[in-house]
Symmetry: C2
Subunit: 467 residues, 2 copies
Amino acid sequence: MRKIRAFCLICFSFFFLLNGCQQRVAERSEQTILSRFVPYFESIKKIGLQEENAYEFLKKITSVGGRLTGSEQADRAVEISLKIMEESGFDRVWSEPVEVRRWVRGEPEQAMVKSEKFPPQALKIAALGNSVPTPSSGLEAEVVEIQSEEELASAAEKIPGRIVFYNVPLDRTCTDPFSAYRRAARFRVNGASKAANYGAVAVLVRSTTFRIDAHPHTGLMEYQEGLPKIPAAAISTADAEKLHRWLQQDPALKIWIKLNCRDEGKVTSANVIGELTGREKPEEIILIGGHLDSWDLSPGAHDDAAGCAVAIEALRLIKEAGLKPGRTIRAVLFMDEEFGGTGGRAYAASVNRNREKHLVAIEQDRGGGAPVGLAFTLEKLIEKIRPLESYLRPLGINWIVKGGGGVDVSPLRESGAVLGSLMPEVQKYFDYHHSALDVPEVVHPRELELQAVILAIVVFYLAETGV
Amino acid sequence: MRKIRAFCLICFSFFFLLNGCQQRVAERSEQTILSRFVPYFESIKKIGLQEENAYEFLKKITSVGGRLTGSEQADRAVEISLKIMEESGFDRVWSEPVEVRRWVRGEPEQAMVKSEKFPPQALKIAALGNSVPTPSSGLEAEVVEIQSEEELASAAEKIPGRIVFYNVPLDRTCTDPFSAYRRAARFRVNGASKAANYGAVAVLVRSTTFRIDAHPHTGLMEYQEGLPKIPAAAISTADAEKLHRWLQQDPALKIWIKLNCRDEGKVTSANVIGELTGREKPEEIILIGGHLDSWDLSPGAHDDAAGCAVAIEALRLIKEAGLKPGRTIRAVLFMDEEFGGTGGRAYAASVNRNREKHLVAIEQDRGGGAPVGLAFTLEKLIEKIRPLESYLRPLGINWIVKGGGGVDVSPLRESGAVLGSLMPEVQKYFDYHHSALDVPEVVHPRELELQAVILAIVVFYLAETGV
């Protein structure tokens, strides 16, 4: 019995020892990795936080104004971005053509509420991207207010010949603003055809923001094949609330609207690309991207000059810190995220043509807020980055989870790239999104720079160690 | 040997089983706690995010303007807060007297750079709290610029009869804004006496903000016993940068400054207190506090109308959700955090007099930003809150760590209270801090409300389960 006890004791001890050893080995390897990289990370951090250059890039990109896909401003943004990258001394800087649609808003929209019970009232509206115009004399009709998808079907008989007014607010009780947005944005994207199916002549869609403000928030809408194309516009949340009250006073009120937008077919635009070519394995590429186009109502500072600025700044920080990465790091500013994603597809096609190998593709398209987490589509990559966690935490990174990616980089997944994103704080993001409010002043230089610093650290680490 | 193996196998199995069981028991107890509380938490969350009333309270408190300790505005804020709490229907609402100092800024300060090499230049300055005034005709002297503590000693012979200009920027490369602030704020708090010790006649102190702006950021300064009291003022960062350049052009330039502040002795002010009285153990108290006073240059929205507003709103949410907590939950709006902390000490003295038992005292004084974490001074309390983590994460709580507390609640620690804080995102906090920029518009209703929702959830849970 004594033998048995002794043997068991040995077994137990061995088990605990093994357990403890494994943990210590993991800790030691984490410390080894950190002690090797921390001096580089410190240089990157110090240069970044001291100089806050991401914001300077953002100001340059936004200086051209709204960069609607296919517009002159978008062309100018391509030129400016190429210049920024060249002046930053990247190893290679170039652009690649993208065939995009050119939709033009034209003269500002007009809308007027006409009632026999109160004086005429102007409404603040903006055509949704891709909408057809109204006749040049405008369009006048009675209104059916709809507050849910179910209501549309039950209001079917009232709809023919009328304007459907989708008055569905973002659900404020939803803690994730993006979830609330996605649910409400369905009315913007598909609402026109759904209403046209019941005979509506136009739609007004409540702006997709949590706040009550005087600004229409635009965005892309799509027509369903085989149904009449009717004009579609966003209405400001403040005016949506008013219209709701006016309709209670006078359900027979009419709205006259005039949209002057037009489709001008296809034009050639460009993705802008800069890289620090890899020292040892230049053929293995790590990508950071944002989208260079924006909506036309503002200079699109959060959406997505921020993503472009941090991508460029991350490369600049690595270069300024005197580092030459083992693998290639690329900043890609995609054209046309907002109007169909042609830039992302064109880039992926070019990657396939040139048989390039993208290890990781990180997309930044959630605004320039303070960083809170990282997300990657591959568990193994998350584990690989885990040793950096203690270094990244004071910079704002509270978690590294499964997720990430975006419209522009998702076509790269087919060719084996892991997708990723740095996730910023987004409670305020939809206040500005797609409206006239998305100006450089609402992005904070230090918060934006923290994004660039973290990205520079993560991609430099991946470029040194591979995936 | 077979016996031994079998026995070992049993031991091992038992060990793993035990391990697994413990984990499952922990998980089950967490699930039990959550399933009991989540319906309450959901009510609190829905009411909060839908109504965003914390911001309404903040607007009411800030409506009186800057609430400098001892001022008429501070008195008015006491009245308004009592009214808000009474209207919210709390079980008890009262105020307690606090003897405070009344320091008055007087007419706006003036400062002028006089040089023989360039025309006169005005500087934007503001007297530091507690400073003595200049003579009524002002004070004119040459300037010694100091960029570190060491420099002061080495410049000793130049200082007599001159104005010391502390031009020490916040270290932008420091990721924690509060650390950077604390280091730079030493010059504001102690700089006057240190300079007076070398014979200086006044000090100008670079404002403690990361940004370059045109606004002096004031704050408390202290005189060291036995040294001459010399006038002390904050200078805006933009003017500090200019003055630095002017001093390079003309080291013999003079500055004329005029401060009109005065000490008006002691007056009686008040802490404002409201509570939801405990259902089962009314004598056990859980406190949430902010400070009602602010600096006088702005309505102090982040510092600290935000803390007061979320404390009141947390109680209101619990009440509106129809909940009656087991233990007493108190919102305390402390007077005079900024000018010496007399309110916190007066409250603690009252607690001791009345032999009240405070289990936990949570202070909110880091602005109204989006929540990121919770901190408590007691490890056991952290473990107690751990089961709520999965619920709190979508609301923004990424970590629960050791820390927390603040000037107002720290005197309660002696009588056994655990201190705590909800930590918000603070990268922008010092942009506004103690300057004219700290207005309601820079606080976001949804971010602020998330603080109130989290606090309501945490204190209701503690009030039900004890500490």
